[in-house]
């Protein structure tokens, strides 16, 4: 079997396995999940290794490990086609890491654990399927598969105003996919007007390059906005704060860590690669929008009081940078964009994991009511500081590599206006520092606030409608440590030794960048 299909198959096997285990055997379910996601991680590691080895050996195909099976031929031609280039390999690796850490982060889910994990696997199937597909229709199918479980995961296992958030998130993303579907069918029907059979295959469409410019002009914005909604592009980003705030920990991780990357990846893979002329014409509009995202998200994050809102707005800013760099349309900037996806995926997953772990104990995420946690849960807090440092672009962690590649690459744009925008984007590194340090200073450092010490035990004291609650606080336990350490190690590996991954991505982007210039 093709190694790429193996990802989906393994997940399907997990799905069946978890389905068959009785719901009350929670540990069995958890370990099944852990084992399955270990296999996924192993597969992903092997994929990276084999991909690099094949490239080393001189494989020059755009997509390696390609395979294709016809699903349906007739009125429309759909096939299940898989294949990966450096970009998708990076994304698959990211997904595998986030999935396994997500499993450990949801170890403590007690309520309807079986159903939770079932939907979790569904979500993962969608994500992996999306990244391995090179057929537009299959891609879209997996995209939808990834979106729907979100609704249930947030609506059932979420917190706060979860129904509203779930509904909003799903509706906005569905609105995006409505645009997307029009775009995809537009690409399908107009991409091969005089050069043969209609196809959904990305590679063939790109090779034909037969889409007339007037149709590109119509379908490029639809496709780009369709994916852009998921990529939290201004002004379609408002699902993100509410959605993330209400989602359970692992779902926020997976959503911000991986699902939002589907947006950037799709913009690049579908909208820009297949409609390069329109992209060149219309890029400036989206560059301005994403440029706004970058600064706007960062400023908004500065005054939020809910940890998850801060992080969600920070995601808006960082993901804005992804699209911003993609639209600069040169190899370096695009490499930076993909690196940023990777880096943001990891660090935002880490953030959400940590926030979830803190919230699980204090039952509040409001930074006004937290303080001095460093004394209480040093492990989690140190991890939080590291995540913050990654987010504000400290060298040695992944954020720096990505941001600097983006800035250098984007600044290489020959147009002055674009360069000025890049300078505007640079301000985000300062604002990021402001809101990250605000949180770090407020909740981690400083004296204990609303926390009392009884013997060796710290308790969080909260008053709710006149009732006083005492929540015992503790540092991370083993599964939480696995989740956070896994992510931190990944962040540090990219941050300390980025050249291999940046080369891997950059190589795959060469052809596209050449086409776009």
């Amino acid at each position: 079997m093709n190694i790429l299909s193996a990802f989906v198959v393994v997940l399907l096997v997990m799905l069946v396995a978890v389905f068959l285990i009785p719901g009350e055997k929670k540990n069995a379910i958890r370990w099944t999940m852990a084992a399955g996601s270990m296999v996924i991680l192993g597969l992903a590691g092997y994929l990276v290794w084999d991909f690099l080895a094949q490239r080393e050996a001189g494989a020059t195909d755009k997509f390696l490990f390609a395979d294709s099976t016809v699903w349906y031929e007739g009125v429309i031609n759909i096939s299940y086609s898989v294949g990966v280039d450096g970009v998708s390999v990076a994304m698959i690796m990211l997904s595998a890491i986030v999935v396994i850490t997500g499993v450990f982060a949801s170890w403590a889910v007690e309520d309807k654990a079986k159903e939770y994990f079932l939907w979790f696997i569904m979500l993962s199937i969608g994500v992996f399927g999306f990244f391995i597909s090179v057929d537009l229709f299959t891609m879209f199918l997996f995209y939808e598969v990834a979106l729907i479980p979100m609704y249930l995961l947030i609506g059932v296992w979420g917190s706060g105003d979860k129904e509203y958030a779930a509904m909003k998130l799903t509706l906005m993303l569905m609105g995006g996919s409505a645009f997307l579907m029009v775009g995809i069918f537009g690409i399908y029907y107009f991409s091969a007007e005089d050069s043969g059979a209609l196809t959904f295959n990305l590679e063939e469409i790109a090779a034909n390059a037969a889409m007339p410019i007037e149709w590109q002009r119509r379908f490029f914005p639809l496709t780009f906005v369709g994916f852009g909604v998921l990529g939290a592009m201004f002004p379609f980003h408002t699902w993100s704060p509410d959605g993330h705030a209400s989602a359970p920990t692992a779902v926020s991780m997976l959503h911000a860590g991986v699902l939002m990357k589907l947006g950037g990846y799709g913009c690049f893979r579908v909208a820009m690669t297949l409609m390069p002329e329109a992209c060149k014409e219309q890029a400036w509009i989206f560059i301005v929008l994403t440029g706004i995202s970058v600064v706007y998200g960062a400023f908004s994050a500065c005054v939020q009081n809910d940890l998850k809102y801060i992080n969600a707005y920070s995601s808006v800013s960082h993901c804005g940078l992804v699209l911003f760099a993609l639209l600069m349309m040169n190899q370096t900037a695009m490499t930076g964009a993909i690196l940023q996806m990777l880096s943001h995926g990891l660090m935002t997953a880490l953030f959400f994991a940590l926030i979830g772990m803190i919230y699980g104990q204090t039952h509040t995420r409001d930074i006004r009511y937290l303080g001095g946690l460093m004394q209480v849960m040093p492990f989690l807090c140190v991890c939080y500081v590291i995540a913050g440092m990654a987010s504000l672009g400290l060298p040695g962690l992944s954020g720096f590599v990505a941001e600097m590649t983006i800035f250098v690459g984007s600044f290489a744009h020959e147009d002055l206006f674009h360069r000025v925008l890049v300078i505007g984007g640079c301000t985000s590194i300062v604002i990021t520092a402001v809101y990250i340090l605000r949180v770090v200073g407020k909740i981690l450092f400083g004296p204990l606030y609303k926390i009392e010490k009884v013997g060796d035990q710290y308790n969080y004291v909260s008053e709710h409608h006149g009732e006083v609650h005492h929540y015992p606080l503790r540092d991370a336990i083993w599964y939480e440590k696995i989740a956070t350490i896994g992510l931190i190690v990944s962040i540090a590996i990219i941050g300390l030794y980025p050249v291999w991954i940046s080369d891997m991505i950059s190589e795959s982007l060469e052809a596209v960048a050449a086409m776009l210039n």
């Binding site: 370096t332 060298p395 690459g409 600044f411 300078i423 402001v434 450092f445 080369d503």
Partner: protein, 653 residues
């Protein structure tokens, strides 16, 4: 040469590994006996120091001297991140006079601080963490000075920033420490942004990050920059100047030049030895080092920027010196003094020439020389201050007085360092400061006048500090709590550093700086300008004399003078309200204005629009729901009409 090349990775790798080791396992392994962590850190750093000395000695006296100038060696250069074929970030090791000198400075001060901290930080919670971060800092600072390309410098630039943050917030339970750390990080980060933009502009035109290529000089031009950027204008300004000015702003942030100086005094919230290392001796001179590193580009292609640097430096030194006269927290006095002295170094660079023929590049030499001497005596002062604080448990001058009886070693070393900073021969500060003044005198009389005045002020406030601590009146608190001499491991560093300070005059006999550290790396013969030297000694003596009069014994003269100059005094003691202005801008305008407005806009306009869409579709749905009334006949009617319409359509077409 091979030995140096083989040894050089140790300088970067060892501190980094120490950081990882102590940071990751320090707390676990050395739970019962944290001191082991300190000893391990110190031992590691001793190795680094020995290697640094060895490399520096080898470089200066054996390998470095080329045909006519000192060569620039790149000992290793590993590709770290490849952006384009030309724009490659490497992590490398460049050996040239200034980096070799910096290796010595950093390893010396760092080692002293490591040793000193064994005593000073003894028993503190987070002792292991402290040593881990010290290692991180040493690693970052070493990486910064040996950078082969400007981006490597930026990387380590950020790393020193974060280690500074971590050290300032060492006592993270204290809100003031946290606030200071935040302030330091954000202000420097703000400046770093300009640095980054400068790098972007520079690399956009020159298509390289490499220092060797950027600073290569031929025919009186920095060749690469000249060919690629000459004549490029943006909004009426030369792009080269803009880029170089932005890069200088980055340096100004780290080196606490006006208006980015506000973080440094607050940074004194950190442990005193860390202040000595980071906020006095090494990190804060990174800006000076940066300008020195890029000096050919500044000198040939952006001379206007160099002039601006000179005036900013002069203003800052004056400004900081005035404030230093009014502070009562001893560490703050030292902090402002640091700002003032670093500004001196900038002025020196600004008034320097490039070639060594007419001693024109005296400024460059003097700047580096002052950097060196300042690092030593300022570290000594800080460590001395640490001993004092350790003894009296306060930073305030009022808690001190007459301490000379209790702590003789601290007293002597402090006095030596004060004399050095005041510019009294034969202590080190005299030589370096004198060269700066000579260079300034030859270049620009206004700058000279300013700097000479500041020299006097320096002597005054340093001796004010000295007298207030060691003389003045007996503090009644000492009666029941006798201050005691610090332990030996704290005193040794003081002695070592003051020895460095005392014996710099040997340079006159065996010339080192003028011969080895010059802008074009060709040595020259230094002649002492006696007129200026005597003038500056006189100024210093006057300063000391005033301090003597006012502060030797407790009297009411200082208050009287303060009363006379009330306005100046109050605003100076409030640091001219710069902090308040910053606070106003950040709190009121950026937070209260921009951020709140954007957040409101997001929630109410953008999100409101989305909710409006949802509301509209819901209302429409309710309206449409009425059509589905459940009334059979209504349906039948609809059915009839529909069938008729369709049939009509079908028949007619």
């Amino acid at each position: 040469m091979e030995t140096i090349t083989n040894l050089s990775p140790i300088i970067l790798a060892l501190p980094f590994l120490m950081f990882l080791f102590l940071g990751l396992c320090g707390n676990k392994l050395f739970k019962s006996n944290p001191n082991i962590a300190g000893w391990i850190g110190t031992a590691g750093l001793s190795v680094v120091a020995i290697v640094s000395y060895y490399i520096a000695i080898q470089y200066f006296w054996v390998e470095g001297k080329g045909a006519d100038a000192y060569q620039q060696f790149v000992l290793f250069n590993h590709e770290w991140l490849k952006m384009t074929d030309n724009l490659v970030i490497s992590i490398g090791f460049m050996l040239d006079p200034i980096s070799a000198m910096m290796l010595v400075v950093i390893s010396t001060v760092s080692l002293m601080v490591h040793i000193y901290s064994l005593g000073y930080m003894h028993g503190e919670e987070g002792f292991q963490r402290y040593y881990a971060v010290l290692s991180l800092f040493t690693f970052a600072m070493m990486g910064l000075v040996v950078a082969t390309n400007i981006f490597q410098m930026y990387i380590f630039w950020e790393l020193v920033g974060v280690s500074s943050f971590l050290l300032i917030s060492f006592y993270f339970i204290k809100p003031s420490a946290v606030a200071a750390a935040k302030k330091a990080f954000i202000v420097t980060r703000f400046a770093d942004m300009f640095f980054l933009i400068g790098i972007l502009i520079l690399s956009y035109y020159t298509n390289t990050f490499d220092f060797l290529k950027l600073t290569a000089v031929s025919d009186g031009h920095a060749t690469l920059v000249n060919t690629k950027m000459c004549g490029e204008m943006f909004m009426g300004l030369s792009v080269t100047s803009i880029a170089m000015f932005l890069i200088f702003l980055g340096g100004a942030g780290k080196s606490a030049m006006f208006p980015f100086h506000i973080w440094l005094p607050d940074a004194m919230e950190g442990p005193t030895p860390a202040s000595a290392l980071i906020h006095a001796a090494t990190m804060v001179v990174a800006g000076v080092f940066l300008v020195a590193r890029m000096f050919p580009v500044y000198f040939f292609e952006a001379h206007d920027v160099l002039t601006i640097i000179g005036y900013i430096g002069a203003f800052t030194s004056l400004f900081a010196a005035i404030i230093a006269c009014t502070q009562t927290d001893i560490k703050r006095v030292l902090a402002f003094s640091t700002i003032s002295q670093i500004a001196y170094m900038f002025v020196a660079l600004a008034v320097s020439g490039y070639t060594s023929e007419h001693e024109a590049c005296l400024g460059y030499t003097a700047s580096m020389w002052h950097l060196f001497t300042h690092a030593m005596f300022k570290a000594c002062l800080f460590l001395g201050a640490g001993c004092i604080i350790h003894a009296v448990h306060s930073n305030e001058m009022n808690a001190m007085g007459n301490l000379r009886k209790f702590m003789p070693i601290a007293h002597i070393t402090f006095l030596v360092s004060c004399l050095a900073i005041a510019g009294i021969p034969p202590f080190s500060g005299f030589f370096s400061k004198d060269e700066i003044l000579v260079a300034a005198f030859e270049h620009d009389k206004v700058l000279y006048a300013c700097q000479a005045f500041v020299a006097g002020l320096t002597a005054f406030y340093m001796f004010r500090l000295y007298f207030r601590i060691f003389w003045y009146s007996e503090n009644p608190a000492h009666a029941h709590h006798t201050p005691h001499e610090a332990p030996m491991n704290m005193n040794i560093p003081l002695i070592v550093l003051s020895v460095f300070t005392c014996f710099t005059w040997l340079d006159k006999v065996f010339p080192f700086f003028p011969e080895k550290i010059t802008a074009d790396r060709v040595g020259y013969e230094l002649e002492t300008n006696w007129i200026i030297a005597i003038a500056s000694i006189l100024v210093a003596v006057v300063g000391i004399a005033i301090a003597w009069v006012l502060y030797l014994k407790k009297n009411d003269k200082p208050d009287m003078i303060a009363g006379k100059l009330k306005c100046l005094y109050i605003s100076a003691s409030h640091r001219f309200y710069i902090d308040e202005i910053y606070l106003f801008i950040t709190r009121k305008i950026i937070f209260g204005g921009i951020c709140v407005a954007i957040a409101w806009f997001d929630r109410h306009i953008i999100d409101g629009f989305m909710n409006l869409l949802a509301w509209i579709s819901r209302e429409l749905s309710y309206d449409i729901r009425d059509v589905q009334s459940g009334n059979l006949q209504q349906y039948a009617w609809g059915f009839l009409v529909g069938v008729l319409a369709i049939a009509m359509f079908a028949i007619n077409y």
